[in-house]
């Protein structure tokens, strides 16, 4: 349970002599520590404590000290009679979507940002302001937009139908393949629900972050390095592979990891665009904490497991990076 005594609280600054100046150097760290404890550590400990609670069927949950929720996460509620990997599968899809979408965002943002740094200063500034301002749009808003763009009567499927692409697909027989893949109904193509729509929206969501995170590193790239390599006869691709990419390896990896962690918690895009088979831990957490169920302890358990999995990934990324650094 929560052991409040262990929380390192700032010691109250001892009242010094009246003549001494305000001990700002000692107070500021104390205040910062208090803020971190109140706003980060305490909520986290609360979630941890709730994850050991017990759900009462037909009512809410009560405080307890049970590991049943953690057991349920791995094998399901009916264990040992029956085993389900449902919750591990949800965790897998959290990673699946976050990895693909963050890689896609970084891979597409990289050439864009590289080109951006070669523009005039004023043009660069305009682009950056535009990209920064697009961050003001919330996830809900973006998902709504893509929802309409992918809708049958107003979006991409309509374009397919009006341009005769749907009819052509039916003629050549590829339409049946799309139906088998779940990307069409008997009438027209459909992109909801699909991995395509989910990944697309998720990458779109973090794309501005990718540009903004990559921009400082790319704008500091010394063009003379690449030019020198070119004068020595290296092709464009060789230059990119052996000069440009290695020199931005660290920001590239950092950006991908940051976006990946950010995307692990995506909720709206997954609820709307992913098929129920591929719903993620974030969606499951919400459906337990809110909604009809009121099973906050199990929701908290899933949140803790997601956190542990994400931290493991980050540590692995860090380790790999250290190894690569050492190998050089």
């Amino acid at each position: 349970m929560t052991v409040a005594d262990d929380i390192p609280l700032a010691k109250p600054a001892r009242a010094g002599k009246a003549t001494q100046p305000f001990p700002i150097r000692r107070v500021v760290p104390g205040v910062l520590t208090t803020l971190i404890v109140v706003f980060c550590v305490a909520p986290f400990l609360l979630v941890l404590a709730i994850s050991f609670g017990r759900k009462v069927d037909g009512a809410a949950w009560v405080w307890d000290l049970t590991f049943e929720n953690y057991q349920r996460f791995f094998v399901g509620v009916l264990w040992p009679d029956e085993i389900t990997l449902l919750y591990l599968q949800q965790l897998y899809y959290s990673f699946y979507f976050a990895v693909i979408a963050s890689l896609l965002a970084v891979l597409t943002a990289l050439p864009f940002t590289l080109l951006l740094t070669r523009l005039k200063r004023s043009t660069q500034a305009m682009w950056l302001v535009f990209i920064l301002s697009s961050l003001a749009m919330s996830e809900v808003f973006i998902v709504m937009g893509w929802d309409i763009l992918l809708s049958n009567n107003s979006g991409l499927p309509k374009l397919f139908r009006e341009t005769g692409l749907t009819a052509w697909l039916k003629d050549v027989g590829w339409f049946q393949t799309l139906r088998d893949w779940g990307l069409a109904n008997p009438r027209n193509v459909k992109f909801k629900t699909s991995d395509f729509a989910t990944v697309l929206t998720m990458s779109y969501l973090v794309w501005p972050y990718a540009v903004i995170l990559l921009y400082p590193a790319l704008s500091r790239l010394d063009p003379s390095l690449a030019e020198a390599a070119r004068t020595m006869g290296a092709g464009r691709w060789t230059v990119t592979r052996t000069v440009t990419l290695p020199s931005i390896r660290l920001p590239l990896l950092g950006t991908t990891l940051l976006l990946f962690v950010f995307l692990l918690g995506t909720y709206v895009a997954v609820t709307v665009f992913a098929a129920p088979e591929k719903h993620t831990t974030a969606v499951a957490i919400y459906s337990n904490v809110r909604g009809a169920n009121l099973n906050a302890p199990f929701g908290a358990t899933q949140a803790i497991m997601l956190l542990i999995a994400a931290s493991t990934c980050l540590s692995l990324g860090h380790l790999l990076n250290r190894k690569a650094e050492g190998a050089r």
């Binding site: 759900k55 009462v56 069927d57 037909g58 009512a59 809410a60 399901g76 509620v77 009916l78 389900t84 990997l85 449902l86 599968q89 949800q90 929802d147 309409i148 809708s151 049958n152 009567n153 107003s154 979006g155 139906r179 779940g182 069409a184 109904n185 008997p186 009438r187 459909k190 909801k192 629900t193 609820t271 709307v272 129920p276 088979e277 719903h279 499951a284 459906s287 904490v289 809110r290 909604g291 009809a292 169920n293 009121l294 099973n295």
Partner: protein
């Protein structure tokens, strides 16, 4: 006003100030009550048509409070009450949420039915007896009905039609949450209804039947607006949706039509519940009394599209008006199963959806 100078202006200003200060205790004495209802069109209709009538009849003013829905509101209320707040005096809860609130305790208060004479107009099923007495008076009911796009498909005669892949491949919009209705529809169509859902084996049999339906579902919706958009956009051509909203959409010219298949549609209802610790018990009782009146039930049916909780013969609703909001047969949700066996049903349902 001819002799108006700076001094008289100042004087009248002071007088005005004094008058407004004097008036304050009068405002405080006037009676008021805070009532929660589901936000959007629903709440607006209450504010526009029902609350003014109530104020006219009793002199009690109503402050409307927006609830997102029933179950999320229970979480909000629970947290607010623990924190010492009270967002509303009367909340609107669906039956299962109300039972949960009653079991959790200290969220809804017992009611004095002697002050709510009108409740006798309602079927006794709609007056909920919880811990320590009556805790909820039926407010209105709504149907979760079969809907279809008349331009794309013929009127389905039975829920069983939804299983026909030739008719509905990747074309249906159904509720994503386990207690949204599909379990009840399926149990009523292929099994013995509510009774089947009372045992674990029954639940599994129904869920296995629903698994066969998955290739025909294009949308598993959680928010009402998802289904609304998908019907409008043509992403789905049939499914389940609220009867009254479907009728309203049809009136607006959208290609959607609700229908009562031979097994029926799901009827759920909402109850007014008094918040525990509220000092507005009398005002709340007067409101519940008012809303149980057949005339008010008819008013809500006409203006909000809810089904009345009193017998049609007690109201002055015409057949057309009644059929717009209600119908037969009505399937009652298996509340008891959903409450007492919820962890098992939820996990089995989620497993089926996830294919795990």
């Amino acid at each position: 006003m001819a002799h108006m100078n700076r001094r008289t202006v100042l004087k009248s200003g002071v007088a005005g100030l004094a008058a407004s200060t004097l008036a304050t205790p009068l405002i405080a004495k006037s009676r008021s009550v805070r009532i929660g209802s589901y936000g959007g069109y629903f709440e607006n209709s209450f504010k526009e048509f029902v609350y003014p009538e109530f104020t006219k009849a009793t002199g009690i003013t109503v402050e409307s409070v927006t609830q997102p829905n029933s179950s999320d509101w229970l979480v909000t209320m629970q947290q607010a009450l623990v924190a010492g707040g009270m967002p509303t005096d009367i909340s609107l809860y669906a039956r299962d949420t109300m039972i949960k609130a009653s079991r959790i305790g200290d969220i809804i208060a017992p009611l004095d039915l002697t002050k709510i004479k009108g409740a006798s107009n309602l079927d006794s099923y709609f007056v909920f007896e919880g811990k320590g007495g009556p805790q909820g008076v039926g407010a209105m009911s709504w149907f979760s009905a079969m809907v279809y796009n008349p331009n794309e498909v013929k009127t389905p005669a039975s829920w069983a039609d939804f299983w026909d892949t030739n008719l509905f491949e990747a074309s249906l919009g159904l509720g994503r949450v386990y207690n949204a209705g599909l379990l009840d529809f399926t149990a009523a169509t292929f099994f013995d209804g509510e009774e089947t859902l009372m045992s674990d084996e029954g639940v599994m049999a129904v869920i296995e039947k629903i698994a066969e339906l998955k290739p025909n579902v294009a949308l598993w919706w959680t928010a009402e607006s998802q289904m609304e958009q998908s019907m409008k956009n043509g992403d789905v051509v049939a499914g389940q949706y609220y009867l009254d909203v479907a009728n309203l959409m049809a009136l607006d010219g959208h290609s959607i039509k609700p229908t009562f298949p031979k097994e029926g549609n799901l009827q759920d209802y909402g109850s007014w519940c008094l918040t525990a610790g509220s000092d507005k018990a009398d005002e709340a009782a007067e409101f519940m009394n008012f809303s149980s009146d057949p005339a008010v039930q008819a008013l809500m049916s006409r203006k909000i599209g809810t089904a009345p909780l009193v017998d049609k013969s007690k109201t002055d609703l015409t057949d057309d008006e009644f059929n717009f909001v209600s119908g037969a047969p009505a399937i009652k949700p298996a509340y008891e199963a959903y409450l007492d066996n919820e962890t098992f049903i939820k996990e089995s349902w989620d497993k089926m959806l996830a294919g795990a």
